[in-house]
């Protein structure tokens, strides 16, 4: 029983946490991919930027959180989300709009987004330094230990406060996005443009508005993902390329252009990652007592933790080989 709880704590909960982060990033990436038709490489640094804005706000008003009973950073997150959304729209106006109007190839847009990612990286590291920072400035991270009503279970289920907040926020964001895409006029226009941009244009959809809304959604979700990730662990300014790969993998696994696919893809990538680095020896210990001849090595994991980055890569390759449209029938583009 203890072994099962250990497995649940370290694989299911951790996998769901990192999966939710990937999902939030991947939804933004997949929307941009579907509507603007290019892979947005600057997404990871937008996440870092959002978290960094939250850090500044938290440092400015450290007393807000304790007054409400939530971490200050989480209270400040909506403000930073709005700011990041505006920054995303501004970046689009400054760097992508003219290229789009010149009808450049999608690959040139990808290149431009790499230029943007380098600029963001430079700015963030110049202003914040390269060290890791904690978003908990004045308050402490609450940890919930849930006792299980089984006799054989002496371990507890462990969930931290930021993880709970993350799950709640993800559920809220997904429902809001679902309602927006399916019920509102603008959301329908977005889906139409993602399905067929030319047809959308001739039927009188204002493409500029749709592009703006896409950036607002992508930017605010990126900010939320970055903040919640930094709340769970720490704020690292040099995250960018390491988290970009799993996010792209999640978007492609789910099917490019499909937000629900991105959600599923995020969890697939996150859970596979934690499952692959999980050390099975602990869970298999009881077997060793039952079968004395069995000699388990100290670590029995599919992939050592240092090589975690290979998992999303191989998921990506596998999906590109067998099902390039993704699980949810996205576009290959």
């Amino acid at each position: 029983m203890n072994e099962f709880i250990f497995f649940f704590n370290s694989v299911v909960i951790n996998g769901a946490v990192i999966g939710s982060i990937y999902a939030m990033g991947a939804i933004g990436v997949t929307l941009v991919f579907g509507i603007l038709r290019f892979a947005h490489f600057a997404h990871a640094d937008m996440m870092t930027l959002g978290a960094f804005l939250v850090l500044i706000l938290t440092a400015l008003f450290p007393a807000v959180g304790p007054a409400i009973g939530l971490p200050t950073a989480f209270v400040m997150m909506p403000v930073a989300m709005v700011a990041t959304a505006f920054i995303a729209v501004g970046i689009d106006k400054l760097f992508y709009k003219k290229l789009r109007e010149n009808n450049v190839k999608p690959v040139v847009m990808v290149m431009a987004s790499v230029g943007v990612t380098l600029m963001l990286q430079g700015l963030i590291r110049f202003l914040a330094g390269t060290g890791t920072q904690s978003l908990y400035i004045d308050d402490r991270k609450a940890i919930f230990r849930i006792d299980l009503p089984f006799e054989s279970a002496s371990r507890n289920l462990v969930v931290t406060e930021p993880q709970l907040l993350l799950f709640l926020f993800l559920a809220f964001a997904v429902i809001a996005l679902h309602l927006f895409l399916n019920k509102s006029r603008l959301g329908k226009a977005m889906r139409a443009m993602s399905d067929n941009p030319d047809l959308a244009k001739v039927s009188g959809i204002n493409t500029n508005t749709v592009v703006g809304v896409t950036w607002i959604i992508a930017g605010s979700l990126a900010c939320a993902a970055g903040t919640l990730l930094s709340l769970d662990v720490t704020l690292k300014p040099d995250l960018s390329f390491m988290i970009l790969l799993p996010i792209f993998a999640a978007a492609i696994v789910g099917g490019v252009g499909s937000p629900y696919g991105a959600l599923a893809g995020g969890f697939v990538v996150g859970l596979t990652e934690t499952l692959a680095v999980f050390n099975w020896t602990f869970v298999l210990r009881p077997l060793e007592q039952a079968i004395p001849s069995l000699d388990l090595p100290n670590t029995l994991a599919f992939v050592p933790t240092e090589y975690k980055i290979t998992i999303p890569f191989f998921i990506l390759l596998a999906i590109l080989i067998w099902r390039p449209t993704g699980l949810f029938k996205g576009k290959i583009l």
């Binding site: 230029g115 380098l118 110049f126 590109l320 080989i321």
Partner: protein, 421 residues
Amino acid sequence: MQLPKKDIILFSLLAALILIVFASQGSAYSVRVLAEASCYAILALGLTIQWGYAGLFNAGIMGFVALGGFITMLFSFPVNEDFWNTELPGQLGGVGLKALLSVAIVYGLTQLKRLNVSKKIRLPLIIIASATLYLWVVTSLGPVAEAIESEAGFIGGLGLPVWVGWLVGGAVGGGIAYFIGHICLGLRSDYLAIATLGIAEIIKAFLKNADWLSRGTLTVSPLPWPVPEAGEIGFLAARAAYLSVTAVMIAVIYFLLHRAYSAPWGRTMRAIRDNENSSAAMGKDVNRRRLEVFVLGSVLMGIGGAALVTFNGIFDPSGFLPLNHTFLVWVMVILGGSGNNKGTIFGAVFIYIIWTMSSPAALFLIDMASSVGNAMFGWQAPDDLDTRALQARVFVIGLIISLVLRYAPKGLFPEKVAHHA
């Protein structure tokens, strides 16, 4: 061939810049900068055929550089007697045999369809077999790798001539490129960018953590040079000799690329880049041509990376950075003019000089700003100001990419397309 005026002016400016560097920094340092720039020029030529000839997006140059550097280290570093005199090579060979056997078994299982075994049975069988065999190989490699690390440090090199390492480095780079290109080139170009970005990080992670193979973060030095080293003939002469080797390589590569560009092969490449559908309609095998040019470019990157690491004399896996080894090369290519080899070499030398000079310049500017700020407002500069100043250069690189794409998409030396009247 008559050079146009603009080319003459730009190249004279570059020559003047080089002279200024020589005059201000001394010749030993300047030759070093030039030699490194020449290695970067090989990398940039590799990228210019991928991006300029074929429009392929490679975001993982760093991976090919690291791989080239590692292979040349493995081939040219002196033999490690501590390793070869024990029974460890035999054990390592045993692990290698197990790996080969596993590959053979899995391959055999995939061939079961010849015996009319249905897919429903084959697929689970293959998955279970590969997982089990993979665990078997990895768990048997673990103790051997640990023994190598504790008894011999790492497996050492093979003590072969340096140029063998360079060639094999290029070949292995090409092999990896074939593997990725084979999967991604039929799809949209963005996927290739994502995949190359991933493979670069994986190669780096592998070289950084496989201590038994590459000594990881402990680094390997000094790497042997293909020319007499500084200890024998002095810094200046050794570096100049190295520079002449790379210069000859660039000349050969330039000549071959020039021939390929004007040949039917080059014409096909440009036709595919400019209009994929019409060239496919003309019966050109689009994906095959792309794969060729992608592999060729990556071979050049492997060789260039090997030359760069050899020149630095130290193999340090953590020293490979996306910024220095991927995006700097990009700036060289798009600023110089993608698809124009002359422009690419110009861009490589020009940007590399600016890049090396920008580090003291950034430090100087930031120092000045902080002392002014301190004197006027009593502002206390943070301690890690120097590292931050260097990080600010990332911003400039990104800005250059954005500005060039926006205002001068063809670069300083636009590709010259021959028009037939």
